[in-house]
């Protein structure tokens, strides 16, 4: 057939008209995607360890302090608000559920263990991602597209040392501290709704906490907070630092997409890693 003959002259013809290709295409697509993810995972791991390695260089301390202020101290207000209302609603819902079983005396334990083991680390990480993580991606991304990162190279200032390391270290320090604040204020929120508004005895509430919360619960919560800190800081810095490598867009649009991507990826990874870490800690 003339058409077939003509097509065979074309360099892509053989690939284009290969019979049964529609059957293999989904596998090729999945394979390509998996290879892509593995590549990203590998690059991000190298990215993280390079940044951590470069933490122990001179003149890093002031930069870490500045980032602790930005990621940690500046996020305190939003953490206070979210934790207070999370504790209050948790106290309210749990009170009405427990009262059906005559177990309202366990309200303090339920609220505090929920917060310390799960809600505290997870919600703190998500709130910091939304507030500081997105800003980190946007800031580094803009520095990348406006050649400020290249300028650091030309001035012989290592961008990893100057931009990435302080942020990752600051996140590792800030996340557990803010998680502790979240846990404490959340428990007070539970007290307000359970004791002050619904009339539970204050002694019962606090005794329930004292007798049910172990040191392991606290350390497990902080371990999660550190894991989330590493994930959030790495994902957000990585997305900003490699914004110029994006294939879907360029310039300001790429920064916007990288920011969205950083927040979504961080939130998903927080929840996935939460399950994995919880499983490991419960073994």
């Amino acid at each position: 057939m003339a058409v077939t003959e003509n097509n065979q002259d074309h360099p892509d013809a053989e690939e284009k008209y290969q019979p049964g290709r529609f059957l293999t295409r989904p596998f090729a697509f999945i394979g390509k995607a998996v290879i892509g993810w593995i590549n990203v995972l590998g690059t991000a791991t190298v990215f993280l360890f390079t940044a951590l390695w470069k933490t122990f260089r001179p003149k890093q301390f002031p930069k870490v302090i500045a980032q602790i202020y930005y990621i940690g101290a500046s996020s305190t207000t939003i953490i206070l608000l979210v934790s207070l209302f999370t504790g209050m609603v948790l106290g309210l819902q749990s009170y009405h559920a427990l009262i059906k079983f005559g177990a309202v005396g366990g309200l303090g334990a339920l609220v505090s263990l929920s917060l310390i083991r799960e809600l505290g680390p997870v919600l703190t990480a998500i709130m910091i991602t939304a507030r500081a993580g997105s800003a980190i991606t946007a800031e580094i991304g803009i520095q990348r597209i406006s050649e400020q990162v290249d300028a650091l190279h030309t001035m012989r200032i290592d961008p990893f040392r100057y931009l990435i390391s302080p942020r990752i270290i600051a996140a590792i320090i800030s996340f557990p501290l803010l998680t502790a604040v979240f846990d404490f204020v959340g428990i007070i929120g539970g007290y307000i709704s359970g004791v002050a508004l619904l009339g539970l005895n204050a002694g019962v509430y606090s005794h329930s906490i004292q007798s049910n919360v172990d040191m392991k619960d606290l350390t497990d919560g902080f371990i999660k907070a550190i894991v989330f800190a590493v994930i959030v800081a790495t994902v957000c810095c990585y997305q900003g630092y490699f914004v110029h490598m994006r294939k879907d867009s360029h310039g300001a649009k790429a920064v916007g997409l990288a920011t969205t991507s950083a927040v979504v990826t961080s939130c998903v990874l927080i929840l996935v890693s939460d399950y994995v870490v919880t499983s490991l800690l419960l073994i």
């Binding site: 520095q143 050649e147 400020q148 300028a151 030309t154 001035m155 200032i157 100057y162």
Partner: protein
């Protein structure tokens, strides 16, 4: 040139995906000179420059630094080589969250163990040299384009580099500021004696400050030599690049390029017959360096620009054509005038210039003067008559030898 080049490219090829940007590029850059790489936008000039500083690596070929391949250097050797190089980006790449002081201080703060007082002393000295005192604690977004360029230049020079790379330093500037920035680069190059490597398409302005020109065309270097040699270079690059950029220059300033000027002169003289005289007038702005140091680069370039426009307006109307021959020198050909007629035309010019021209130039320069210093300078002119058979350069030299003062701007300082 027999000396070992400071930087040498040997058969450099660079590809981005399937697109080849540089193909078998060979070039030499020598120490202590101003070397300018010219070419059309998107021709790979910045890519070439980024290979020198190590921001990009070639796919093929070798880059030699003082005769040694960079790829074979040890890490410490490479770091020592790159430490001699500074880079001024096309878009300045100033840190927008840092003020000008912090931007300039950044390389010293991060890469040296100098005490804060010493860093402050050095930074303030550079700020003063680049006329940025008023902008010291302002952020880049609060400054004009020209001031941002100066801040980027101050940052590039703060580590006292031996080599400075300028990636299109005049982008986005008006003609006066473009020349002011080029003049500033030339002045600092003389003052600090660094090797300047510049990417630009400001033709012919870059000729005034460049020792060597490299022409990038069709992915490779097609010319290396002096600006004068480029005038005699017979290649499609001349038609497609030089002519188009020179045409733009004529639109902006009214003055012809030196090459176009020579062609016009040749054409006019060919039409004339032996024995038919023509005249050349040479104008010189005296003490340009004193004007620059007293009033700043912007004001000095505004004076030169206004002077060029005034000359073109006056002599262009009677069939004359002019060019800027040096940074402070203009040459005008009066093709249909003998010395008597030229003298009469010149007398009219001098009268108009003293009545109106000087005050116009003073007004323009005052707008851009950076200080209240009082700077006097003179404008000199000389006429010489020649015949079609004479060498133009010899007539120009004769005109220069007969120069006398036609105007003086007294205390052209900021009011």
């Amino acid at each position: 040139m027999n000396a070992i080049p400071l930087i040498e490219f040997k058969n450099i090829t660079k590809r981005f995906g399937s697109q080849t940007v540089l193909q078998n590029v060979n070039l030499q850059i020598y120490e202590g000179q101003v070397t300018t790489i010219i070419g059309l936008s998107g021709s790979g000039k910045s890519v070439l420059l980024k290979h020198i500083i190590g921001l990009l690596k070639p796919d093929e070929g070798t880059i030699l630094f003082r005769g040694k391949p960079m790829a074979e250097m040890k890490k410490s050797e490479m770091a020592a080589s790159l430490a001699q190089i500074s880079y001024m980006f096309q878009g300045n790449a100033l840190f927008d969250s840092l003020n000008i002081y912090d931007n300039i201080a950044l390389p010293l703060m991060e890469t040296t163990n100098l005490k804060r007082a010493e860093i402050t002393r050095r930074v303030m000295a550079r700020i003063e040299q680049t006329e940025l005192t008023e902008a010291t604690y302002k952020f880049p977004s609060e400054l004009s384009g020209g001031m941002q360029k100066r801040a980027a230049l101050a940052r590039a020079l703060i580590t006292d580099p031996r080599i400075v790379l300028f990636d299109e330093p005049t982008t986005g500037q008006d003609p006066v500021r473009k020349n002011a920035i080029l003049s500033m680069i030339a002045q600092y190059q003389r003052k600090f004696n660094f090797t300047a490597i510049m990417v630009s398409h400001e033709i012919p302005d870059v000729y005034f400050i460049s020792n060597r020109i490299l022409a990038l065309y069709d992915k490779t270097i097609v010319f290396q030599g002096t600006p004068e040699e480029l005038g005699n270079f017979d290649h499609p690059f001349n038609d497609e690049v030089i002519h188009s950029l020179e045409g733009l220059q004529k639109e902006l300033t009214g003055l012809y390029s030196q090459r176009k000027f020579k062609i016009l002169n040749h054409g006019q003289l060919k039409r004339g017959e032996t024995g038919e005289d023509y005249c050349i007038v040479v104008f010189t702005l005296s003490a340009l360096d004193a004007v620059i140091s007293g009033l700043g680069h912007d004001a000095a370039q505004e004076i030169i620009h206004a002077m060029g426009l005034y000359i073109d307006k006056h002599f262009g109307a009677i069939g004359g054509f002019s060019t800027r021959r040096k940074s402070n020198e203009f040459v005008t050909v009066l093709p249909f005038s003998n010395i008597v007629e030229a003298d009469s035309i010149m007398n009219d010019f001098v009268r108009d210039f003293q009545e109106q021209g000087i005050s116009d130039i003073r007004k323009e320069s005052q707008k851009l003067a950076s200080s209240d210093k009082c700077v006097d300078f003179a404008i000199r002119a000389g006429i010489a008559e020649g015949q079609p058979t004479d060498e133009m350069d010899s007539i120009i030299d004769l005109a220069k030898s007969q120069q006398k003062e036609i105007g003086r701007l007294q205390c052209a300082a900021k009011e």
